[in-house]
């Protein structure tokens, strides 16, 4: 009985990220003697959404194999958040148009990322990095330092909650459930895992490797676009550095959440646990009165500790 439970635990490494999140939350409210316990959870659920959305895109990219990673996420968030707010022009009537424009911009970035990787044979890290320079510049040139407010409906939606559960959190959980089903059960999900484990074998098995890679990079960029729209709505307008924390954030939640960095194994629930853990960790350090320096050091060391304990696996390359 005990042995099967242990094996089950071993097969679900993502459970640890939730254990960590709860432990950190308990430590925080123990310190505040229960004050603000609910408010912390509400805030954590809101902020975790943004990380979960881009983390999901990063997870899909990382799952397609060693070396695949999307470093253009922060710049894409900024560009698409800006595009959305500019097109919406603070009017509810232009809400849909703004969303469509931002998603289109995201899709273009994703397609260009893939184009660089496929046709110029640039390693994904460098391709998405170079692309992020171009995207960041576009955002700077397009934004012109203005801070445009989100339309009232978007503002109300991104900051609204019911009994302390933010609406965006409900939506993001639904989204995660759908992605979980896609990754675990659909042809696409199985295929990207197969590609990640051995792309040549996948190709020989008649899996349309390149089409799925293309879809994956486009999906990641479009998820960054969604994150950009929601983040701009949530924080009262786009800012040029709004995406910067999601470079580490998106990769860290994927890794802490139990997705294999070598590719070939995705874990959707783990992203949630890791995103909550990361936010609650910073909250805990803030509550303890830690300075910015201590907070940075602790965040870094904990990420390293988590992956060092979870242990590396044999890479197939």
């Amino acid at each position: 009985m005990n042995a099967t439970m242990l094996r089950k635990l071993h097969q679900t490494p993502w459970i640890w990220s939730f254990v960590g999140a709860v432990a950190v939350w308990l430590a925080t409210i123990a310190f505040t003697e229960g004050q603000g316990a609910g408010a912390i959870v509400t805030a954590a659920l809101s902020f975790a959404c943004f990380t979960v959305i881009v983390g999901t895109g990063q997870m899909l990219v990382i799952t397609t194999g060693p070396g695949n990673v999307d470093l253009s996420i922060p710049a894409t968030i900024t560009l698409c958040g800006t595009v959305a707010m500019k097109v919406m022009n603070e009017q509810d009537s232009l809400l849909i148009l703004g969303i469509v424009a931002a998603l289109a911009a995201g899709a273009v970035v994703g397609a260009l990322n893939y184009g660089l990787i496929r046709f110029l044979r640039i390693p994904p890290i460098i391709a998405t990095l170079s692309m992020s320079f171009l995207v960041q510049s576009s955002a700077i040139a397009y934004n012109r330092g203005l801070r445009i407010k989100p339309p009232p409906a978007l503002d109300a939606f991104t900051t609204g909650d019911t009994f302390g559960v933010p609406w965006i959190a409900i939506l993001t959980v639904l989204f995660s459930v759908v992605v979980g089903i896609i990754v675990g059960r659909s042809y696409y999900g199985r295929a990207i895992s197969a590609i990640g484990q051995n792309s040549r074998a996948a190709w020989l098995a008649n899996i349309p490797v390149e089409r799925f890679r293309f879809l994956t990079y486009v999906a990641s960029a479009m998820l960054s676009a969604i994150c950009g729209i929601l983040l701009a709505g949530f924080s009262g307008g786009p800012a040029l550095d709004m995406g910067s924390e999601y470079l580490l954030g998106s990769i860290a939640v994927v890794v802490i959440g139990g997705t294999s960095v070598a590719g070939g194994r995705a874990s959707v629930p783990g992203i949630w646990g890791a995103a909550l853990f990361m936010f609650l960790l910073v909250t805990m350090l803030n509550t303890f009165g830690a300075s910015a320096g201590i907070r940075l050091v602790a965040t870094g060391l904990i990420i390293i500790a988590v992956i060092a304990i979870a242990g590396g696996e044999r890479e197939s390359r």
Binding site: L116, L129, L134, I304
Partner: protein
């Protein structure tokens, strides 16, 4: 003659130098005043710290890893140097050695636990930045006199950054490419199994390479504070991207221990000059980062075209 021109392998190897030459010519056409010792020294002064950081990155890439923390590491070393070297040189030197030791430990951890270097170094970048912010919450400190003097050395006839770059490139080129242990070190990236079977310790080679990366990171920080004469935790944040781009521009590859020290230094100089060139072109500052991305893409596209031709 035509045979030489058509030799694609040669062309591929010469690409970093050709890129730099094209850029220099373009700068001189656009801004003839730059073609003086003063002009070149001014444009190239930051090439030295960037080149050293790029070499640090190259050591890590040579063993199939990637260092996303080098920028904040260089920032930390400027803080340590700026705070302690002028007043308590012994403590300062000790702390810098400790930084290098941390890099060695990082290499050992990555190897022993078989961890993805991207994640470990990304985590470490927070640690370096955090320590730097704790040491020096606001920009400050002061470069020691000797360092300031060294970095602003005036040699008649030749801009100092060029001499420094040649010396640095030559030392690393000989050490890594033309020594027998250098072959083993690069072999760790090229064919780790073969290196292990030949009786070399992979753990040791990784630790040596990360140690070298840490040492060059420290040198980069020292040269940087010698130029700026004040330290800041965020002073070198861009160096992470510059160093990766420099290695790749210089003909290095991510996998297989294929790197080129001379190429990396040329790549770093190209990046440093590209910034000046964009200013001369009067490109709006908004597009400067983007233009650097574009240069990177163009060079890589050229390389892909050449390599594809040779494979045929």
């Amino acid at each position: 003659m035509t045979a030489l021109l058509l030799n694609r392998d040669l062309l591929r190897r010469a690409l970093p130098a050709i890129t730099l030459a094209v850029l220099l010519v373009a700068i001189f056409i656009k801004q003839p005043l730059a073609m003086s010792q003063f002009g070149l020294t001014l444009m190239l002064q930051y090439a030295v710290p960037i080149a050293l950081a790029t070499l640090a990155q190259m050591f890590v890439i040579a063993v199939n890893d990637l260092d996303l923390s080098i920028g904040s590491f260089v920032g930390l070393t400027t803080c340590i140097a700026g705070l302690y070297l002028p007043t308590e040189p012994l403590l300062g030197a000790l702390l810098l050695l400790l930084c290098i030791a941390a890099y060695v430990a990082m290499g050992a951890l990555i190897h022993l636990r078989n961890l993805p270097s991207i994640v470990v170094t990304l985590g470490m970048s927070f640690v370096w930045l955090g320590i730097a912010v704790l040491l020096l919450p606001t920009p400050g400190g002061k470069a020691p006199e000797w360092l300031h003097g060294l970095m602003n050395l005036k040699v008649p006839g030749v801009p100092f950054p060029i001499i420094a770059a040649i010396v640095i490139a030559a030392v690393v080129q000989i050490g890594l490419m033309h020594s027998s242990y250098g072959v083993v070190l690069r072999g760790t990236g090229g064919n780790p199994k073969a290196v292990a079977r030949a009786g070399w310790s992979l753990l040791k080679t990784k630790m040596v390479m990360f140690g070298l990366a840490g040492s060059f990171g420290v040198l980069s920080g020292l040269s940087l504070i010698g130029l700026t004469s004040a330290a800041d935790a965020h002073i070198a944040d861009r160096y992470t991207l510059y160093s990766i781009a420099g290695v790749i521009l210089g003909g290095g590859e991510f996998i297989g221990g294929r790197v080129s020290p001379v190429g990396a230094v040329l790549g770093a100089i190209t990046l440093a000059l590209a910034a000046s060139f964009l200013i001369f072109l009067r490109i709006s500052p908004d597009w400067q980062i983007g233009a650097q991305g574009a240069i990177l893409i163009i060079v890589l596209a050229l390389r892909a075209a050449i390599t594809r031709g040779s494979a045929r």
